[in-house]
């Protein structure tokens, strides 16, 4: 009797083993897809579809694979509105992959998504767009001003910039995956917290050093007008600063150069 009752009770299903490490292939697929994270950027869902696109290789590791309700629910959840700096979105992708594979409750994941978006945007903007990019650009302009050829200038710019860019994406994925929903503490990392404060003075030095040298090299045979160019550039810069917020400098540049063309071409007649 006891033996037959034992036969009727189904054997307990062992819980699926928790994934503690992302397989290298999955990690590489996610990194590659993150390079296209803004591919479907739009004014409604912003990065949302890109997050789902980048997470998909990790979600395939869910028990049962891609044809299960759990996979579909996760894909639907992760492809909704999201905003972040495209490079630092890697932190979110790593953390969300961990949360989904750890089977965290859906409401908790959605709350986490909402909370994470703002900080990843502002930190990334200050660190990359306002710091690292101008620094690398001006470093390369400095190399150009010092007489560097096209290979040296491009290698300096692309090499230095992308070393930081790719390292940031790889670090973001790793730190997100490691900390999961507790990733907020990783945003206190010294690189993110103090990075903009360190890069800004370096970039400012590069502006002061690189711009005059680049200017000199572009002028080329017209160096006799150097003094006039310097004064004109200083006055132009003052005007742009005074007009800050009302008109962009590049539009003014287009206008001034168009007038130059009209004078020169009209003067021929």
């Amino acid at each position: 009797m006891a033996a037959s009752a034992q036969r009727l009770v189904p054997a307990p299903v062992p819980a699926p083993a928790r994934i503690t490490r992302l397989p290298m292939r999955t990690r590489l697929a996610m990194l590659l897809r993150m390079l296209a994270i803004q591919g479907a950027w739009n004014y409604e869902t912003l990065l949302g579809n890109g997050i789902g696109f980048s997470l998909e290789p990790a979600l395939r590791l869910l028990p049962g694979g891609v044809h299960t309700p759990r996979f579909k629910e996760a894909m639907a959840r992760q492809s909704k509105y999201f905003n972040a700096h495209p490079y630092l979105a890697a932190v979110a992708v790593g953390a969300l992959a961990r949360a989904e594979l750890d089977d965290e409750p859906a409401e908790r994941i959605e709350r986490f998504r909402t909370a994470l978006a703002g900080p990843l945007g502002s930190v990334g903007d200050r660190l990359v767009w306002a710091g690292w990019l101008p620094f690398c650009s001006l470093l390369a302009l400095g190399v150009f001003g010092l007489g560097g050829g096209h290979v040296a200038v491009l290698a300096t710019f692309l090499g230095v910039y992308n070393a930081g860019h790719l390292a940031l994406r790889a670090w973001g994925l790793q730190v997100g995956w490691t900390h999961g929903l507790r990733v907020a503490q990783a945003l206190g990392n010294p690189v993110l917290r103090r990075g903009p404060q360190v890069i800004a003075p370096l970039a400012a030095f590069a502006v002061g050093f690189g711009v005059p040298l680049a200017m000199l090299r572009i002028i080329g045979p017209g160096r006799t007008l150097l003094g006039v160019v310097l004064v004109a550039a200083a006055l132009g810069a003052l005007l742009i600063v005074r007009l800050h917020g009302r008109v962009e400098g590049w539009r003014l540049a287009l206008g001034v150069l168009a007038i130059l063309v009209l004078i020169s071409v009209g003067g021929a007649g």
Partner: protein
């Protein structure tokens, strides 16, 4: 220029794609894109020269968040290729190449806005499938939007070259100012924008102000002694 139109447009498409969609490795920055355009037209150094001037101007428009900014990738490639093609006529060619690049960047920025609106429409059409968690819908939408961006860059580049190549040639034939003055104006304008951009980026940071002064001192000393 006509025989190189297709390869140039293809390069412009790839550089336009880099601006936002893939891989954002800054191949689309003027320094790189104009040099590649110059190389395609036979003179990478000419491309680099115009790329440096455009890079000074582009420092002002960094791709913050959802802000609207000029599309420098395809545009700088056009500027680099035009300047490299006209290097035998130094008077005016730099100013004209910069104008062509700035105008293309302006239109390119507008096309990016339109593309993002189109992406939103496609996303809305795919919403039922996205809500159902269909992986094909997510991947398909991503690839469709990226392909559209590639096509956008291709068409923009080809249109810019078709318009600006003959216009540059015609303007150069009538150009009356000497090469020195023309280039000096172009450089002064680019430097003004760069200096204004530097102020915008760093005026809030006291250490940055001091390092800027130190850098400027070093730069000007190098400039005078070279």
């Amino acid at each position: 220029m006509t025989e190189a139109l297709f390869p140039l447009a293809l390069l412009g498409a790839l550089l336009g794609l880099d601006t936002v969609s893939f891989p954002q490795a800054m191949l689309s920055r003027p320094l790189v894109a104009a040099t590649l355009g110059g190389a395609m037209a036979g003179s990478p150094m000419d491309g680099l020269l115009i790329g440096a001037a455009l890079e000074l101007i582009a420092l002002e428009t960094l791709p913050f968040g959802a802000s609207r900014y000029p599309e420098w990738g395809s545009a700088s490639m056009v500027g680099g290729a035009l300047f490299a093609s006209a290097h035998a006529q130094p008077a005016g060619s730099s100013a004209l190449a910069i104008i062509a690049a700035l105008a293309t960047a302006w239109i390119g920025g507008w096309t990016m806005v339109k593309l993002r609106q189109l992406n939103a429409r496609w996303a809305a059409q795919s919403q039922p499938a996205l809500d159902a968690g269909a992986r094909g819908a997510v991947i398909g939408l991503q690839l469709k939007c990226m392909t559209a961006d590639l096509v956008r860059g291709f068409l923009l580049t080809i249109a810019a070259l078709i318009v600006f190549a003959p216009l540059t040639e015609a303007s150069l034939a009538l150009w009356s100012l000497d090469a020195r003055t023309s280039r000096a104006v172009a450089v002064a304008v680019a430097t003004s924008v760069a200096a204004g951009a530097a102020w915008k980026l760093f005026h809030g940071s006291t250490p940055a102000k001091w390092t800027f002064v130190a850098g400027l001192g070093a730069g000007l000393t190098m400039m005078v002694t070279r």
